[in-house]
């Protein structure tokens, strides 16, 4: 020990003349640093109440609670997260996972109270002084816990598909499906949006687990047309998907198709038959029309042991699924598989049996406890422009039916399609394929009244049609079919300035100075369809209540006649999944009535 060892500590005394390092007023002088994880903020307008924050919270600190001022609407559950600061550990996983970036954290961190019950609040709803705090933790730009981009779906190249009716979409393989399924946060916002409330998060979860049979089981609980819907569903679920806010929505439709593709058909039949009542109840139901609505009702009823007979005017069952959708989108063998499962429940389908001609509706009524009217819209609407009565001006539905039936008719080298919906695309693309087969080139012009971004067809349909050579010209209203020497030679159109008037009614406004002539040897009208109710006969038509040319039905699908239900495009529209939902509802409604009434003895 030297003297300096003893003396040097005394140098600490010079601190007496330095300022203290003590923070003078730590309560007010120390705001949280930028990106400090303090109490939560939530932009309730941006929040969709998906509950992903609740699901990821490791401390069970988040509740999803209904908020009075926020209404439930498609894509927004109306719930908002409530955070329990008796649980929260400020890990910010909820902020990192938030699907809309609505949730964030302020940099406020002081909250004391004598009452332990107060540390629970709904950010953005229960107002707090830190709501406007600018600093705090936000999810870093580009940083996401779930993938933003949808796994690409393999498709045939335009060159390969343009002249064939082979299915375009390849479907996901196992690995792709798992990747895509992993993006799903299982919030279930889609479930309510789906007309038949398919258990979407649950069946997507079966892909992650590889439990495909369980997936099929879940699919069949709500939808016997998974092959069809896995391909051509309008997938409204994807419009309310939480993932769409900051990326692509989950490819729910393709995942559904993936599940059904993984399980052999015979096994699907077994799974679908689980819980089937083999004992016949004695009740008999007649269903007019073997479309999705009719067959779904038939499936449910037959599974519950009721006798079901389906009467179909066309030579094959499926309705619009078969006669309205081209084969390259929905291969017939896949549709047949779905129908085969339904048949295996014991449903009898009588094809080429037109009610009103081969059997009268009164006969049906007499022989059955109840009758379901589930016909489609098989009649095309006409534009009624000059020249539209010509035989080479045809409706799209009729042409589609003829293609399905296998009629090999000649298509001219140029033709025009009027309409901007999916049916217009279907017929344009089908005819383009036939043109390529017959002439080696495409000469289809599609004119739509709406502007490009307002066209009713799906975006991908439009893009694919263009890739296949269809010329799509938006904002054109048909003026007349030009006929020379009794042959159609073209379609004359004018520029359409606006489609709807200020009140939102259909009232197209044309610019008559902008006229174009499109060469066309055939004009196809695809502007809408109608049902043919003639077979009902006059007394029944009189007895039923009507609403704008459709039979009026209640929420259960019942008409004003106690024995008659109605469903499908003829009363409802617009797509397969809605028809499936209606089929389930009607089956349930019929069975509720059967339950209180013994079967008639015949």
């Amino acid at each position: 020990m030297s003297l300096s060892d003893v003396l040097s500590p005394f140098s600490a005394w010079k601190n007496l003349f330095r300022d203290p390092v003590t923070i003078p007023d730590p309560l007010n002088d120390r705001p949280g640093a930028p990106r400090y994880r303090g109490f939560h903020q939530n932009d309730v307008e941006k929040c969709i109440g998906c509950g992903t924050c609740e699901a990821i919270c490791q401390n069970a600190a988040i509740d999803m609670v209904a908020v009075a001022e926020i209404a439930t609407k498609p894509g927004d559950s109306g719930l908002r997260p409530r955070i329990d600061y008796g649980r929260c550990c400020w890990c910010a996983l909820c902020v990192d996972v938030c699907m809309t970036s609505s949730l964030s954290m302020s940099n406020e961190y002081k909250w004391v109270d004598h009452d332990p019950e107060v540390f629970r609040f709904t950010p953005g709803v229960d107002l707090k002084h830190w709501d406007s705090a600018e600093l705090g933790y936000r999810r870093p730009e580009g940083h996401r816990l779930t993938g933003n981009e949808r796994v690409d779906m393999g498709e045939l190249e335009p060159e390969a598909r343009a002249d064939s009716f082979v299915e375009i979409v390849a479907g996901y393989d196992l690995e792709q499906a798992k990747l895509e399924a992993d993006r799903c946060v299982s919030c279930g916002l889609c479930v309510a949006t789906c007309p038949t409330h398919m258990a979407v998060p649950e069946y997507i979860a079966t892909i992650r687990d590889g439990a495909y049979e369980q997936g099929v089981r879940l699919l069949y609980q709500t939808n016997p047309f998974s092959n069809v819907c896995g391909r051509v569903c309008t997938h409204r679920c994807e419009t309310s998907c939480a993932a769409r806010h900051e990326g692509d929505p989950i490819a729910i439709r393709w995942l559904k198709r993936h599940i059904i593709d993984q399980v052999p058909h015979d096994r699907i039949k077994q799974i679908a038959a689980e819980g089937r009542v083999s004992e016949p109840s004695g009740h008999q139901v007649a269903i007019i029309g073997a479309g999705p609505a009719g067959l779904t009702a038939a499936f449910d009823l037959a599974k519950a042991g009721h006798g079901v007979t389906v009467f179909e005017a066309q030579p094959a069952p499926g309705g619009m699924m078969r006669y309205g959708i081209p084969e390259y989108r929905l291969p017939y063998d896949k549709l047949d598989e779905d129908i085969d499962v339904i048949r295996s429940m014991g449903v009898e389908i009588r094809c080429s049996t037109r009610v009103g001609e081969d059997i009268s509706i009164d006969q049906l009524r007499a022989q059955h406890d109840s009758v379901l009217l589930a016909i489609g819209l098989h009649q095309g609407r006409s534009t009624r422009i000059p020249g539209s009565e010509h035989r080479d001006v045809v409706s799209a539905v009729e042409l589609l039916r003829r293609i399905t039936l296998g009629e090999r008719f000649e298509v001219p080298e140029t033709l025009a399609v009027i309409g901007g919906g999916n049916v217009a695309m279907d017929i344009a693309r089908s005819l383009a394929r036939m043109q390529r087969q017959q002439h080696g080139k495409v000469g289809v012009t599609l004119v739509a009244l709406e502007a490009e971004d307002l066209m009713l067809a799906d975006r991908e349909e439009i893009d694919e049609a263009r890739e296949e050579g269809v010329v799509i010209i938006p904002s054109r209203g048909p003026r007349q079919c030009v006929i020379e020497r009794d042959a159609v030679i073209g379609l004359e159109t004018v520029h359409c300035i606006s489609v709807f008037d200020e009140q939102g009614r259909f009232a197209p406004n044309y610019d008559d100075s902008d006229i174009q002539l499109h060469d066309a040897g055939l004009i196809v009208e695809a502007i809408g369809q109608a049902a043919d109710h003639a077979f009902l006969g006059e007394p029944l038509t009189e007895a039923l209540e009507w609403e704008r040319n459709r039979i009026r039905i209640d929420a259960d699908g019942r008409t004003s006649e106690p024995w008659l239900w109605a469903a499908g495009d003829a009363v409802q529209g617009p797509d397969v999944i809605t028809a499936v939902a209606a089929g389930h509802r009607i089956a349930a409604s019929m069975m509720a009535i059967f339950a209180g009434k013994p079967a008639a003895t015949r």
Partner: protein, 181 residues
């Protein structure tokens, strides 16, 4: 580097498989009769003088408890873990496991913990039956996978009331389709 050691060990002892995690970390599965000789060999011949930890894993699906003895070689800066599989059912019925507290005194503490948390008995280990972390524990050992800790906590420590949550999907269905359609 550890693979060489493994091959060398394998010449002397019947060993199970090797699982290499890093160049300086590997795990060897071995039958329980070989545990003591291998530990002794590693400690005295190979320089693994430090018992880093002794822990257990409950593989309830396979009806197994896995004991992991992690050893560290300070000189060689490498770690080796020995895994011993015990029949879960047998352990629950009271089958003993031999203690290694005579090789490393610290093992006694780990063994006391395993006794309390998993119910694995090391009858020779000093003080193994004394309370360690739990006092007056009445249930099955809490680290066993069949012990539902959330349920136990809710029943014993009464969470604060007033919490309720709704499932977004169910809530939407109820709000948008009130008739249940």
């Amino acid at each position: 580097m550890l693979r060489e050691l493994y091959e060398q060990l394998k010449g002397r002892f019947p060993l199970g498989e090797l699982s290499e995690k890093r160049p300086d970390l590997a795990f060897i599965t071995l039958p329980r009769e070989q545990l003591r000789p291998v530990l002794l060999h590693l400690r005295d011949q190979e320089g693994f003088t430090h018992l880093v930890l002794l822990t257990a894993v409950d593989w309830i699906e396979d009806d197994r408890f896995q004991l992991t003895y992690l050893l560290h070689d300070r000189q060689g800066a490498r770690d080796i873990g020995l895994r011993v599989m015990l029949s879960r059912q047998a352990v629950i019925e009271g089958a003993p496991m031999e203690s290694i507290h005579d090789l490393w005194p610290t093992a006694a503490t780990y063994q006391r913990e395993l006794r309390e948390m998993f119910g694995i008995d090391f009858p020779d280990s000093p003080g193994v039956n004394e309370d360690f972390i739990l006092e007056g524990w009445r249930e099955i050992p809490p680290y066993r996978r069949d012990f539902d800790t959330l349920k136990y906590s809710n029943e014993t420590f009464a969470p604060r009331p007033g919490r309720e949550s709704q499932d977004p999907a169910q809530h939407m269905k109820a709000q948008l389709y009130p008739d249940g359609a």
